[in-house]
Amino acid sequence: MKESSHFVHKYLRSSKRFPHIWCAGCGIGIFMQALIRVIDKIGYSKDEVVLVSGIGCSSRLPVYVDFNTLHATHGRALTFATGVKLANPRLKVITIMGDGDAASIGGNHLIHAARRNVEIVSFVINNQVYGMTGGQSSPTTPYGLKTTSAPYGNLEAPFDISRLVEAAGAVFVGRTTVYHTPQLERLIEKSLKKDGFSMVEVLAQCVTYSGRWMGLASPVEMMAWQRDNAITVEKAAEMNETELAGKVVIGVLVDRERPIYDKEYGKLAREKLKV
């Protein structure tokens, strides 16, 4: 007999009400499923995984999954995660943040976590808007876009979160979209297996707000946009800045080695304990 329910469902909390709170066609659920698949594939136990999130649409993710889950404060997921990891380095600590969460109110924590290189895997679900509060501009909202807080058009330039985190020192940075689901799973797997601070930026559609602001009326149109505007890192290397304008470069952006804080501290502590 075939199994009637997929293994993914075994990671969902049956005591939680489903369907989840996200709007129809929201990209966060796609990411959530990809994360569960990869965790299952690698074989982490539910007990060793800690999901830490901030505040916002994407930060509602942890409550639905059967891990140790910590729904922290707006922008501060990485600070909680740092404490969890250092107090118990055996735990696999994963943070889930949104673009406003990670790059605006939590921007300082983001760059310092990358600089410090504590072993935390972070996912920034970038939908280019504040969804939960009703469609205000975020630090990744494109210049000129009209939002509820920029009714005459956004006057600010957006952050490139991946390049920001790269400059701050992250050892692994990847970017993709929820349309590119197989690649999303590959990047999640690579980041989970990487020692040190890693970050994957996941472009995801907010159908209710950013889609509306961009004139993309449905999740299908938004995902088609992701498909049509994504350029692989390899291909992007052969293109100039004008050609790359408005495109999303996807793939592994950084993969390097640097001293890892928690491992260095562990060494230090063992030396001091011997004395």
Binding site: S15, K46, D47, H71, T73, R76, T79, A87, L91, Y265
Partner: protein, 381 residues
């Protein structure tokens, strides 16, 4: 914690705090440099690795507070220390720790404010902020040491209370207590009473993360122990899941208050001096209590029946203790290095049975015994 004591050591207040924390079982510290609390982080950075713990300098006080909450959830007793400006930044996460019931200790070595204020000078201006600094209704426990030894002792007690009630506990020291050096005799580790958070007594499937076991304090497993549960700053039901149901919100709020208020009788910590026949009582805390004791001694030499009650717990306010004093005294004097944050509480508790006098100093310098004595003589009659 009394009995046999070891030989005397000369310690700075901030160092005594670190000794107390480590003796209490603190194994995680996160902080950010700020005068006059920085020494706490510096001592921690040296001593925690030797104790098998972790000390990390974070990017700011918000992060420090977040990190100690994370560490506590992962099973470590944890602490941070700061002064006024950093204490303001920590308020967001102090509220989180109240709501999610995460034991942790926050030390505020008070300096004069508001804002950047007087970084190297003492004040007691954060008493109300310690009580109500974070938004929303909440309970909080605040202790105030007045000597180097008390800083040690109350740090241990702060951990004990934080663990017992699963709540953030604030240690409200001041620049004078933090920076002065005194010879102290620390008790041997074996003689300390150390409390630990209540632990689950049932298998994970039967554990209710935010249920009331009768004490008001739910047992607390650490992440990684098999008790997978959800922690949130949102109002939550007994399973930890977000809720907006009025009955569930009400039940949570009532429990968060009552787990501490049910124990008010146990939380009347003060030291009394010359109070047996006192017609007048000086109520003081922190560094001012030191000057208060000296002033009371001098007043006694002058034949004035004056006593001193030194408050060791500021919040929850010791209503029972203070009521007793208002009933036995003709007049109460509350000297403090603010414009009257505790005297306001004393007035609230006093049901017209005695006169309340105040002595307030807000220039960054300590209140002297002479100043208190003059005020005693003025209001004693």
């Amino acid at each position: 914690m009394k009995s046999r004591k070891q030989s005397q050591v000369l310690l700075q207040g901030n160092e005594a705090c670190v000794r107390g924390a480590i003796a209490a079982g603190c194994r995680f510290y996160a902080g950010y440099p700020i005068t006059p609390a920085t020494e706490i982080m510096e001592y921690m950075a040296r001593q925690l690795p030797e104790a098998g713990g972790v000390c990390i300098q974070m990017e700011d006080e918000i992060a420090s507070m977040g990190a100690i909450i994370g560490a506590s959830l992962a099973g470590s007793k944890s602490m941070t220390a700061t002064s006024g400006p950093g204490f303001s930044l920590m308020q967001e996460h102090i509220g989180y720790a109240c709501m999610a019931e995460v034991p942790c200790v926050v030390v505020d070595v008070m300096r004069a404010g508001p804002s950047t204020g007087l970084p190297t000078q003492a004040a007691q201006g954060d008493v109300m902020q310690a009580r109500w600094g974070t938004h929303g209704d909440h309970s909080i426990i605040v202790l105030a040491p007045s000597s180097v030894y008390e800083f040690y002792e109350l740090t241990i007690q702060a951990f004990n209370l934080a663990e017992r009630y699963r709540t953030p506990t604030i240690l409200l020291a001041d620049e004078i207590v933090g920076h002065m050096r005194e010879g102290v005799s620390l008790p041997p580790q074996g003689e300390l009473e150390i409390e630990n958070r209540p632990r689950p007594t049932v298998p994970p499937e039967w554990h209710v993360p935010y249920g009331d076991p009768g004490t008001g304090v739910p047992p607390m497993p650490a992440f990684g122990e098999g008790y997978r549960y959800h922690v949130t700053g949102l109002h939550h039901d007994v399973r930890g899941y977000p809720t907006t149901r009025p009955d569930e919100v009400q039940a949570l709020m009532r429990r968060l208050f009552s787990k501490i208020s049910n124990d008010f009788e146990r939380l009347q910590w003060c030291d009394s001096y010359f109070t047996e026949d006192a017609e007048m009582t000086v109520i003081a805390y922190g560094c001012v209590a030191r000057a208060g004791l000296q002033a009371v001694k001098e007043a006694r030499q002058k034949g004035l029946k004056v006593g001193l009650v030194k408050l060791k717990i500021l919040w929850p306010f010791m209503r029972r203790t203070i009521t007793g004093i208002t009933e036995s005294s003709r007049v109460i004097l509350v000297p403090e290095m603010n414009v009257g944050q505790i005297s306001r509480e004393v007035k609230r508790v006093n049901q017209g049975s005695c006169e309340i006098a105040t002595l307030n100093k807000i220039d960054g310098t300590a209140i002297t015994p002479g100043e208190i004595l003059s005020k005693i003589e003025e209001v004693y009659r």
